[in-house]
C-alpha cells in the first residue's frame, strides 16, 4: 500500500527533450508538493497545490509546469530539458487544509539525468 508513489523511478534523457513525472497519493490528502533535490542533497520546494489549485510557485522556470487533474494526482511536466535539471524530484502530500504543522509524506523520488 504505497502512500505516495512516483513514476518513473529513474529517467535518463537528452537535453532539449520534454518529459513528465507522475505522482499519486492514496492518503486522501488535499495538498501536494514538488521538491527538487540537487546533487549536493539540498532540497527546495518548487510547487504546492491545494485541491487542484496552485498555492506556491517558488520562482521555478516556465519550462516546469505542474498539473493536478484531481486531488490525488500532481504531475510535473518539464519542457526543453537542460543539464541543470538533473536532480531527484520528490513529490509529497499533507492532510487537508491544516497548515504548516501538518506532516508532509514523501514519495520515493524520481532520479532525472539529463545528458
Amino acid at each position: 500500500d504505497t502512500a505516495v508513489s512516483q513514476t518513473p523511478k529513474y529517467l535518463v534523457t537528452q537535453m532539449g527533450n520534454d518529459k513528465s513525472i507522475k505522482c499519486e497519493q492514496n492518503l486522501g490528502h488535499d495538498t501536494m508538493y514538488w521538491y527538487k533535490q540537487d546533487s549536493k542533497k539540498f532540497l527546495k520546494i518548487m510547487f504546492s497545490y491545494n485541491n487542484k489549485e496552485l498555492i506556491i510557485n517558488e520562482t521555478v522556470p516556465n519550462r516546469f509546469s505542474p498539473k493536478s487533474p484531481d486531488k490525488a494526482h500532481l504531475n510535473l511536466h518539464i519542457n526543453s530539458l537542460e543539464l541543470g535539471d538533473s536532480a531527484v524530484y520528490f513529490c509529497a502530500s499533507s492532510p487537508p487544509a491544516a497548515g504548516a504543522q501538518e506532516t508532509q509524506y514523501f514519495g520515493p523520488g524520481t532520479r532525472l539525468l539529463v545528458l
Binding site: T31, L43, I45, A92, A97, G99, A100, T103, F106, P108
Partner: protein, 116 residues
C-alpha cells in the same frame, strides 16, 4: 528570510554511542520544526516534529529532539546509535504562512555514518 543551518555536513559515530545532530533556524517567530531521515536511494521519512508544548519531543526509532527558543535550535539526539541509523538527516522548518499555504524549508543535511 527564513533559513535552516545544519553545521555538520558529515558525522561518524560508533555503534552504541550517543548522537547529537545540530540544527539552527532563522525566523521571526517560532516556526514549526521537523526532522526527516533519508536512507540511501529512498524518500524522506518524518522522525519527529515540534509546534507547541513540551520542548522535548519524542520520535520514531528512539530519536528525540529539544527545542531551545533562546538558541533558535532544534537538535536531534539518540542515546545509542544502531548501524541501521546510517542515513542523511534533514532539519526543516515550516513558516506560518496561513491557510493552506504550507512549505518546508530544509537544511543542507547531515550525513551520518556508523562504525561497527
Amino acid at each position: 528570510a527564513q533559513s535552516v543551518t545544519q553545521p555538520d555536513i558529515h558525522i561518524t559515530v560508533s555503534e552504541g554511542a550517543s548522537l547529537e545532530l545540530r540544527c539552527n533556524y532563522s525566523y521571526g517567530a517560532t516556526p514549526y520544526l521537523f526532522w526527516y531521515v533519508q536512507s540511501p536511494g529512498q524518500g524522506l521519512q518524518l522522525l519527529l516534529k515540534y509546534f507547541s508544548g513540551d520542548t522535548l519531543v519524542q520520535g520514531i526509532k528512539g530519536f528525540e529532539a529539544e527545542f531551545k527558543r533562546s538558541q533558535s535550535s532544534f537538535n536531534l539526539r539518540k542515546p545509542s546509535v544502531h548501524w541501521s541509523d546510517a542515513a542523511e538527516y534533514f532539519c526543516a522548518v515550516a513558516p506560518l504562512l496561513g491557510g493552506a499555504t504550507n512549505k518546508l524549508i530544509f537544511g543542507t543535511g547531515t550525513l551520518l555514518a556508523v562504525q561497527p
